[in-house]
Amino acid sequence: MIALLKRDLSLALRSGGGAVTALLFYLAVVVAMPFAIGPNTQLLATIGGATLWIGALLAGLLGLERLFQGDYEDGTLDQMMLMGGPLPAQVFAKCVAHWLVTGLPLTLSVPVFGLFLGMEGVAIQASMATLLVGTPAISFIGAVGAAVTVSLQRGGLLLSVLVLPLCIPVLIFGVGAVRAAVTDPDPFLPPFLLVISLSLFFAVIGPFGAALALRQGND
């Protein structure tokens, strides 16, 4: 499992791996926003949390298509099923690797991107906190979608269609928590804790669902 995690990390950081691409895509989304909205700093700062979250969601989906597809194509998936121990545990390892190269860098880049959007310090901190606990959910939900579409040639689009609706609760509470952090009477903690619980929930059922789909799809 640790070996699988290390290998996935090293593959993602090489040429053709998705780590840097996801971060650049995130930058592109965040930078495109002011062009679409116009130079209204007040408005930009207000919707900053939402922009950061939408960008993270889209950037997170970007690399998901390849989560199992490479392994499926070169026969690694067969070996994982044959001798790698429990498949859900291996899926979990791959999700953690995916999060470490997408969700985590996206979270860490928030202070810079938040400044681009003219957000206040508190909002930036709240965005970082919610993305840190919310992006794992994207990886775990995405794993199920990636497993379902693994044998399809152009599964990326279908994957996004399948995964995005399931990510909406995470998005609602994530953005809600950021908004609550800046608007005074609203409490920050309840939506924040809901995001954590969603991530934990999907961390448990995601790998099992994905393992089931992989077994069904691999013939």
Partner: protein, 209 residues
């Protein structure tokens, strides 16, 4: 150890690939599966490896000496399919080190395994730079870096030239002499001493060695 398949049937989609297939192989024996393309040789190997579900029938492992304890059968197998399960972006050495760690039960060193397949000194070369035959030989080296008593081989010699083919036959012989068990699907006659044959030709029959 003895592997017994009784009245196996496998379906893919809606099609029945084969039915009522029976065989048995013991340690030190090889079972060669022959038959035309599309007869179901690969399907049988994948079903034995538990990568495909059985529609009916039973696969049993007799292990009277409890040599392998409670280990489940798939964990005792090496499966060499059509693909070699190597990442083009990593070097040969990195690939093999990964598989050794992943599979556990280290057997040969990476260096030794590469020497056995005639590719010593290639461990730092990216896998993507290798030719088809060389890639296959790295796939074979994977069988050597971790120990598994059962080898399930699907067209193992595809892409190999004659010298590497005889090299591989020698490796198979050594595995059998060490008490291993081989089930291979192939078209090419293999020089590995005596073996059982399972022939797919419309109906399935088993011949004695």
């Amino acid at each position: 150890m003895k592997l017994i398949g009784q009245k196996l049937s496998v379906e893919r989609g809606e099609d029945l690939i084969f039915s009522d297939l029976s065989f048995n192989v013991s340690s030190g024996e090889a079972l060669i599966i022959r038959g035309p393309n599309g007869a179901g040789k690969s399907t049988l190997l994948r079903a034995i490896a538990n990568l495909l579900p059985l529609l009916s029938g039973e696969l049993t492992v007799e292990d009277p000496d409890k040599e392998f304890g409670e280990t489940e059968f798939p964990q005792l197998c090496h499966y060499l399919g059509h693909d070699n399960a190597m990442k083009p972006a990593m070097s040969v050495g990195e690939n093999l080190v990964f598989w050794q760690k992943f599979a556990g039960q280290p057997h040969l060193d990476i260096e030794e395994a590469l020497e056995m397949v005639g590719l010593s000194g290639l461990d730092s070369v990216p896998y993507a730079h290798l030719s088809t035959g060389q890639r296959r030989r790295i796939g074979i080296a994977r069988l050597l870096v971790s120990y598994r008593p059962v080898w399930l081989l699907d067209e193992p010699t595809s892409g190999l030239d004659t010298p590497s083919q005889s090299q591989f036959e020698a490796l198979m012989k050594v595995h059998l002499e060490d008490g291993g068990l081989i089930i291979a699907a192939t078209h090419i006659p293999l020089d590995i001493g005596t073996f059982k044959e399972l022939i797919f030709d419309g109906f399935v029959r088993e011949t004695a060695p």
